[in-house]
Amino acid sequence: MKFELKNSLAPLSALSKIFEHPQTLCYPEVKSETVSGYRGFHINDLSTCIGCANCQDVCMNEAIDMIAIDKDKNPKNNSGCIPRIDYGRCCWCSLCTDVCPPDSLKLESECIWADDDANRFLYQPKDKPC
C-alpha cells in the first residue's frame, strides 16, 4: 500500500483545537451539576418509614442493617427499626427503593465521598422528604 503525504499531514488538523476553549470539568474547584435521578446516597423519610425490612430482604449484598431508632417519628413504624446501609457492600442498584412500600427510602444525587478509615462507611440515610 502506498502511503500518501495526505495521510501523514491529516492528523495535524488536531492542532486547530489549540484555539478552542478547554472542555475540562475542573472538579474540586467547580462542582458539576447533579443529574436528577442519579443513584447516589440514600435518603429516608423517617416520618413515613414503617420499618418493614423489605429493603433488607431484597438486598442481595446484605448491605442493610435494621437498627433501633431513638424516638419514633412515625407511629406506624411497627418495629421501631430503620435501615442503615453499609457502603462497603452497597452497589447502588436501587432495588431497595423499588420495593419500599411507603416510598420513604430514596436515592439522592450526591454520591462523592472519600475517607481514609474503612470503618466509617456505615451510612445512616439522611432524614429528607423526597
Partner: protein, 204 residues
C-alpha cells in the same frame, strides 16, 4: 439521631485537635511537592479500571493535580486497587506494592475494597483489603465516579501534606508481621518473598 457516615461524625471532634502541624518549613515544602506529583501505577486490577481513562484524559484531566500514570512500580507513588481483588491478583498487587519506592500510598476504589461489595459471598475475592495492604484512602461508590476518584486524590494530598506517621507505608513497615500473617493465611508461606529483607538495614 446522627445522619450520614455515623462513626465519622463521632470522630470529628477528636480530629480537630490531632492535626497540629509540627513540621519545619523544609519538611512542609517537601510534603507539598510530594502531594503535587503523584505518579499512579497503571495497573487496572478490577472494574474500577474503566473509570480511570476518563479521569486521566481530557474530560476530568486529573493531571491538573499533578497525577500522572506510569508504567512500572519502581517509578510509582500511588497504587490504585480498583475494586475487587482475587487472591491471584492480590499476590501481584502485593508484589507491585513492595517494589514501589517509599513514600507510597494506596487508594482503594469502591465498595469491594471496604467490605466485599457485590462479591461479598464470592469464593474468589478478598473482602477487606486493609488486612493485606495498608490502604490510605477509600473512595465510595460502585463504580465511583471520576469526581469521586478526584476527591480521593484531593483528600490524599491533604494526608500527604500532613505527613503523619500513620501513612500506609510506615504502617506496612512497622506492622509487617500483621500484614504478612494475613497474607500467609491466604497464600501459604512459600509463595511470597519476604518484604522485610528490603528494609533490613534501615533504621525503623
Amino acid at each position: 439521631m446522627d445522619e450520614g457516615f455515623i462513626p465519622y461524625q463521632q470522630s470529628l471532634e477528636d480530629e480537630e485537635q490531632s492535626i497540629k502541624s509540627t513540621q519545619s518549613v523544609i519538611e512542609q515544602a517537601i510534603a507539598w511537592f510530594r502531594a503535587h506529583s503523584m505518579f499512579v501505577l497503571a495497573y487496572g486490577t478490577g472494574c474500577g479500571a474503566i473509570e480511570m481513562p476518563p479521569t486521566f484524559t481530557s474530560r476530568y484531566d486529573i493531571e491538573r493535580l499533578g497525577v500522572v500514570g506510569v508504567a512500572t512500580p519502581r517509578q510509582a507513588d500511588i497504587l490504585i486497587v480498583s475494586g475487587y481483588c482475587s487472591p491471584k491478583t492480590l499476590k501481584r498487587v502485593i508484589r507491585s506494592y513492595e517494589q514501589m519506592s517509599e513514600p507510597k500510598y494506596i487508594i482503594g476504589l469502591g465498595s469491594c475494597t471496604i467490605n466485599g461489595g457485590m462479591y461479598w459471598d464470592s469464593y474468589n475475592t478478598i473482602k477487606k483489603l486493609d488486612d493485606f495492604l495498608p490502604v490510605d484512602m477509600y473512595v465510595n461508590g460502585c463504580m465511583p465516579r471520576p469526581e469521586a476518584l478526584i476527591e480521593g486524590f484531593v483528600k490524599l494530598q491533604e494526608k500527604i501534606r500532613a505527613n503523619s506517621s500513620e501513612a500506609g507505608y510506615i504502617q506496612y513497615r512497622t506492622r509487617y508481621a500483621h500484614y504478612r500473617a494475613n497474607q500467609e493465611r491466604l497464600f501459604g508461606t512459600q509463595v511470597q518473598p519476604r518484604y522485610e529483607e528490603n528494609f533490613a538495614g534501615m533504621n525503623l
